[in-house]
């Protein structure tokens, strides 16, 4: 009996040691907005100088990406244009979203940061003048090592940017070297219906990172099917290559059209806050350009702990005000100024999704400000997701 017990103790020690070691390699099992990753997703990228897609207010996006490691990093990036075919007309069955992807490559030297303006792109030009102290020149767009030829997006663009770490041959790689931020900038002061958004009004969010698993042994098989979480399945015979997408996405928000309490109500009585949420499915097929689609369930809890629910469908990319989903988000219906909303896919067979929120604050005197927030996540999708990318070399 004693020998049997000691055998069990030894087995237990070995299993625990191996398990802790294996689990230590990836370090976590979920997406993150503040850790270097192998896939980074910018859910909300807008370049709309006319304000056709943004309620009349022009918006431009600055993308910042950097390599957090001491070795060279390569990335393959995809813009997905989700603007309607004719941005001047309202979207509908006869004016569907384009779901058009355009891809390009990035090369970042060790610890190199880079940036580009989405509507301008970035060309390779080693002669870009640098900033200097003497004479004082502080405007030096594109100075630095150009990370590659980055195309400008077409006018009236809205959609997402996905960057995938690859090796020098273009095969997906689990290096977890990439991080990024997106800044939504108002290029000039604009007044719409008596409400003004000033030039330089900005909101900023961190790219959502999906870490590659087992960076030491590189569990990535380097093929064109990226397995995001989940167990072995058709297309992913070895199971997950990357961390899984979350099971639940959580947003704390104002009730729609609630007042902003930080403004003194006696002096400024008519402030109001609206929240915009941008969601993208985790499953994406850039090879066949088949947009992922997910039914999103909303469960809203107000400050009284009252529960409400609603749902909507997100295909490829969706950007909406909460009030557009249902009246339950309205402060007058909720009965409280603040709420917590949990968003989940409509079923186990549905893909996961990621997103970002942006709040718009109208001060009641005609000035509009904005702030973006990364959403909270909870759990991991058991079924996993798949990103399929096109061949990069013949």
């Amino acid at each position: 009996m004693k020998g049997r017990l000691s055998r069990w103790v030894v087995r237990c020690a070995i299993v625990t040691w191996v398990a802790s070691g294996l689990l230590a390699l990836p370090g976590r099992a979920d997406v993150s907005v503040e850790r270097g990753s192998s896939i980074i997703i910018f859910p909300k990228v807008i370049s709309d100088d006319d304000g056709l897609l943004t309620r009349g207010f022009p918006v431009e996006t600055i993308i910042q990406i950097s390599n957090t490691s001491n070795s060279l990093a390569f990335a393959h990036c995809f813009y997905v244009n989700a603007a309607p075919l004719d941005p001047r007309q309202p979207p509908g069955p006869f004016n569907p979203p384009q779901w058009q992807e355009v891809d390009f490559d990035l090369v970042l030297t060790k610890q190199q940061p880079t940036y580009w303006v989405v509507g301008q792109g970035r060309r390779v030009d080693p002669t870009d003048p640098q900033c200097s102290r003497v004479p004082p020149v502080f405007s030096c767009p594109n100075a630095g090592f150009d990370p590659g030829a980055i195309p400008a997006v077409p006018p009236n663009f809205q959609g997402q940017l996905v960057c995938i770490e690859v090796d020098s041959a273009g095969a997906p790689l689990n290096g977890n070297r990439l991080k990024g931020e997106a800044t939504l900038v108002t290029p000039r002061s604009t007044t719409v219906n008596g409400v003004t958004m000033r030039q330089g009004e900005v909101s900023k969010y961190n790219a959502i990172g999906i870490a590659g698993l087992n960076t030491d042994t590189n569990s990535n098989d380097g093929d064109l099917t990226l397995c995001i979480g989940g167990n072995p399945r058709p297309g992913c015979p070895a199971g997950a290559e990357y961390n899984g997408c979350p099971d639940t996405v959580i947003v704390n928000h104002f009730g729609e059209r609630a007042t902003m309490p930080a403004l003194p109500a006696n002096d400024i009585p008519n402030s109001r806050v609206e929240t915009e949420v941008t969601l993208v499915p985790c499953t994406q097929d850039f090879e066949n350009q088949v947009p992922g689609s997910v039914v999103v369930q909303f469960r809203v809890t107000n400050e009284f702990e009252n529960l409400f629910s609603a749902s909507t469908t997100v295909t490829c990319w969706s950007n909406f005000r909460l009030a557009e989903v249902g009246r339950i988000f309205d402060a007058s219906f909720l009965g409280t100024r603040f709420a917590q909303t949990r968003m989940t896919p409509g079923g186990i067979e549905q893909p996961g999704f990621l997103g970002v929120s942006e709040e718009f604050y109208n001060d009641g005197r005609g000035v509009l400000s904005r702030a973006a927030l990364n959403l909270h996540v909870e759990g991991v999708r058991p079924g996993g997701d798949v990103i399929t990318i096109p061949e990069v070399a013949p």
Binding site: T16, E34, I62, S66, Q111, C131, F338, H376, E378
Partner: protein
Amino acid sequence: MSPRLLGLACLSLFVAAGVVHAQQVGSDRAAAILVFPKVVVDTNNNAGRGRLDTLIRISNTLNKPVRMQCFWVNANGHCFNAPGIICDPTLLPRDDRCPANSVCVPGWQETDFIVQLTARQPVAWLASMGATLCTDTADPNLPCFPITGAGRPSPTNNLESRVPAVQEDPFVGELKCIAVDQNDVPIEDNALKGEALIVRSDVANNTNFFDVRAYNAIGIPALAGRNNRDNVLILGGNGAEYAGCPNVLILDHFFDGAVDPVAQQSISTALTLVPCTEDFLTQRPTSIPVQFLVFNEFEQRFSTSFRDFNCFREFRLSEIDTRVPTFSIFHAGVSGTLTGQTRIRGVAGNDRTRGQTLLGVAEEMRANGGSAAFQVHMQGTRPQSDFVYLPLQ
């Protein structure tokens, strides 16, 4: 012990190992400790930057009640010979608000309070006003705690919740909230998520200035089965009860003075750092040298350090290494490119048992434009622990 029981224990260890490694400090997961590194209040526009206030939003993500003990950490400086005068110890060469024969002494003072959240309940309060129960006499324009229940306080109502306003106005400092049980003993419920909205407006001058920036609170998750329920919270390292703080913070930023390629306005970045180790029991601030390693877009490297970091510090990047911002390695004129990446590291001291790690948040401001706050990236953890010492109950 039977082999079957031993197998069960083995399985538990296996699961625990997984949980330990899966938990990380971050701003996108519910956690047992929330850190809001920057809270500012200046409702009378003393600093001339407009009326400033911070709205705190916190919610319980679990389907059961949770209680939190929160700490306002007042990092205001006060004049040495005139402690009633609030001043800024970071101003160089001195803050003129202090009398001629006085200097500005940094401060660090905590005030704590209890908030009871019911299942999935979101709550909010203004740092300048605090919050009380929603009664008939409460100001309807201010956030309050709505579930008043009937009779005695219980986990299913907010009767025990009362948030004091920050200690002073103007105020600069930090808010930390810790999940506790009904006896105010720390527990391992990773239930809390939160956001801070810094609102700047100009009411008195009627210039119609209005700007809001927002960031997520940083969450430090508790590790399952590790909490020993004492008043010393161990973050990372041996005997960890909570996930360890990051070894390095990484900040992608525009260099100060760089001209925004879209709005054509000058950009500056403010970085707020707080230490992971905090002693609310003896109110002793921790002294940590901070190292900054800066890379521009040419992969050229610069570095600098800051010696006098104690409990809270808000830096404008180009004032970290020099009194003349245009000579700073964080200035576009010196770095030569618009953007950079800075790695920020608290230096471990001679006491090798302490992690000396940092947490922070960044804010990007445009001259005559708006501002945005965003999360600082993190990398790795340290083998040493950080500690949060709570007042004894």
